[in-house]
């Protein structure tokens, strides 16, 4: 390690500004991430995001593994919302290999994606409330999410990393009776939503804290490359599921939830609306799965000697954080030649966060970060 030149503090000009480190070891930071803010009094005049604490070099180690081995690796890129990762990887491989996904598998994937969206949003509700000291909401939200993890466990055998969606379909069919249990759970969720509503969205303190916090306009959001719920909170009805549809989403009936505030409150309102929409989509998927039969996976060659044809593909998915992109290049070999992951948070966890923090105050740093739903692992990869 080279010895850097450290200026002696005594030689510096006196200043009214000082630095504060948010993270990586800080409860107000989402995941393992850091934001260094320069403050003047309570007001932030400069913010520098510092990532890489969760860097594992996914893109590199995926080049070192077989196409099937990577299925186990991809969900780990984004921890709170892993299913879109599996879906994007699988679809990019399908686009290169020209694989046809059976209809039943497509519906199952939609079901999984939307359940995962509900989970991720419930988690964000909790996290966002905890940043302003409303821990009760966090306890309730995380526990509610846990019931959904049980469904995942029943379907896939794992709570978090399902490794369920494979190129060409899904790993196995749904177990007996799980559709009924999902329906029962959705009813329970709908019963509990008013409680969250009362506790969070109708709470005077939350409204006071969240209104106007981290506000951005639609023009700014579009120019900064913001996607997903954060963009929709500024009033732009953009959704990959609708604009660049994949799977059976063209057949699914759902609304794009938008708000006009563009602040922390609006972002959480959009997420609340999306949970409602996700419930609607899951119900449609359940109805369809009752009718559609057939295989859940297309025929694949021996996975250990599977050479994908040369080519490249860019798959986009609407994850709970925004637009998720997988760019995969194959050179005709048994391993990917290059995988590039465009993490859904890569914009709003770095550049946008840095911009929004300037002018806000210390107490809002955590709230802005959580309301943007920044997911550091997919930025660091």
């Amino acid at each position: 390690m080279t010895t850097p030149q450290v200026p002696d503090p005594a030689t510096l000009a006196p200043s009214e500004e000082y630095d504060l480190y948010f993270g990586p070891n800080h409860p107000g930071i989402e995941g393992n991430y850091s934001v260094r803010v320069r403050l003047k009094g309570d007001v932030i005049c400069q913010a520098v995001a510092d990532g890489g604490y969760l860097h594992r070099g996914f893109e590199k180690i995926m080049e070192d593994r077989l196409w099937v081995q990577n299925i186990a690796l991809v969900p780990r890129i984004c921890v709170p919302d892993p299913v879109p990762m599996e879906e994007s990887y699988a679809r990019a491989v399908e686009m290169i290999g020209g694989l046809e996904v059976p209809l039943r598998a497509q519906w199952i994937r939609v079901l999984m994606l939307e359940l995962s969206r509900i989970c991720a949003h419930l988690f964000t509700f909790g996290g966002n409330a905890a940043t302003i000291g409303l821990y009760t909401n966090m306890f309730w939200g995380v526990t509610m999410r846990d019931l959904f993890l049980d469904i995942f466990e029943e379907i896939t055998g794992a709570r978090i990393y399902h490794i369920y969606i494979t190129p060409g379909g899904v790993r196995r069919d749904l177990p007996e009776g799980v559709l009924e249990r999902i329906e029962a759970l959705l009813v329970e969720l709908e019963e509990r939503m008013p409680q969250f509503e009362d506790l969070f969205f109708n709470n005077a303190v939350v409204i006071d804290r969240a209104t106007g916090t981290g506000r951005m306009s639609a023009e700014e959001a579009l120019a900064w490359g913001v996607t997903g719920p954060n963009l929709r909170a500024t009033g732009v009805a953009s959704d990959v599921r609708r604009d660049d549809p994949y799977l059976v989403y063209p057949q699914v009936d759902f609304d794009i939830v938008t708000e006009t505030g563009g602040d922390a409150l609006a972002r959480m309102m959009v997420r609340k609306g999306e949970v409602v929409q996700a419930v609607k989509i899951v119900r449609q998927a359940i109805a369809a799965l009752r009718k559609v039969g057939g295989p859940v996976r297309c025929e694949l060659p021996n996975p250990l000697a599977w050479d994908l044809p040369a080519g490249d593909a860019y798959a986009r998915t609407e994850s709970s954080k925004g637009e998720l992109g997988f760019y995969i290049v194959s050179n005709g070999g048994p391993r990917p030649y290059r995988v590039h992951v465009r993490g859904a948070s890569s914009m709003h966890a770095v550049q946008v966060l840095e911009k929004l923090l300037v002018g806000s105050r210390i107490e809002d740093v955590a709230q802005i970060m959580f309301s943007l739903d920044a997911c550091p692992p997919e930025v660091d990869r």
């Binding site: 000082y18 630095d19 504060l20 800080h26 409860p27 107000g28 309570d42 409330a129 905890a130 940043t131 302003i132 000291g133 409303l134 821990y135 009760t136 306890f139 309730w140 526990t143 506790l199 709470n203 303190v205 939350v206 006071d208 804290r209 105050r361 210390i362 107490e363 740093v365 955590a366 709230q367």
Partner: protein, 297 residues
């Protein structure tokens, strides 16, 4: 000799009651969050564990001294409180002395945290002093109103007046507006949401506590016990007729704390400026109205 026994016993009883209050606080919180909560001896375990730490970091003399001020302030305050069966110094001191002594711990903490050189601590303590400034105004108004009603600042006298006349002469009956304003100020004094911005973990990593470890942290835990008890007793003395006997007295103190800890769990925390504005608007306004009524009588 009697005084010596009181000086030892009164803080001890305060500490033990405080442990129960802390336990209640944590249990209530757990129930609202739909979980089981800590075991019965948890507050004791925490404190013993913290004092039994084998390594310890100190940040200088001021840091050590702050703990003395912190605990000393509260232990002194206990002796001035009028509780059933003990005389202590309640007769000699009065309300103003008590309020004055109760400010010492916070100032002591400020001194100690200042020597830690952790910016989170400094921000936290400046917020804490601001919050103190905020809730002291309605509290002062309530206390002025109370002294005017009772015609004395002697705490024993105040308790006697209320107990002789029965429930109708309790402060809460004779000056309800002051009682409400005072209660809101007391809620701020407890340092719970929505007025706990100065320890906000998500913002400044628990502020003043950020550099406290082992025995220092243990002292803060003990301080929390004293704090809940002292503030509860102060309110009971002023507005709820003081203690006729120990069971009734403890029920009253627990009730004061209970309402506060039950309410706190459904709120987030206000920003510092909002805390000041809110405190100077609602509780102060209500208390001033109460004061006007008292003066009109």
């Amino acid at each position: 000799m009697r005084l010596l026994a009181d000086i030892v016993l009164m803080p001890l009883i305060a500490f033990i009651t405080g442990l129960f209050l802390v336990l209640m606080y944590r249990r209530v919180r757990a129930k609202i969050e739909r979980r089981v909560g800590p075991p019965f001896f948890q507050p004791v375990y925490d404190i013993v564990k913290l004092f039994a730490k084998k390594t310890q970091i100190s940040h200088g003399v001021m840091h050590d001294l702050s703990i003395v001020l912190l605990l000393g302030g509260y232990i002194t305050a206990e002796i001035f409180l009028p509780v059933p069966g003990f005389k202590g110094l309640a007769e000699e001191g009065d309300l103003l002395t008590l309020i004055y002594i109760m400010m010492v711990p916070m100032l002591g903490l400020a001194l100690g945290v200042g020597s830690c050189a952790n910016p989170n601590g400094s921000i936290g303590i400046s917020r804490a002093l601001t919050a103190m400034l905020a809730y002291d105004v309605p509290l002062a108004v309530a206390i002025i109103g109370a002294t005017m009603t009772y015609g004395t600042t002697n705490l024993v006298e105040i308790v006697r007046i209320q107990q002789e006349g029965g429930m109708a002469t309790w402060g809460i009956a004779t000056m309800p507006l002051l009682a409400i304003g005072g209660y809101l100020a007391v809620h701020g004094m407890f340092g719970k949401e929505p007025f706990e911005i100065y320890i906000a973990p998500a913002e400044i990593a628990t502020g003043p506590m950020v550099e406290m470890s082992g025995k220092y942290m243990g002292a803060l835990f003990i301080m929390q016990c004293f704090q809940l008890y002292t503030i509860g007793v102060l309110y009971v003395t002023l507005f709820l007729g003081g203690g006729e006997n120990w069971p009734l007295f403890l029920i009253k103190v627990a009730a004061v704390v209970f309402i506060s800890v039950a309410v706190t769990n459904v709120y987030g925390r206000y920003r510092t400026d909002k805390v000041v504005r809110w405190m100077w608007k609602w509780p102060t306004g209500i208390a001033l109205l109460g004061l006007a009524l008292v003066m009109a009588k």
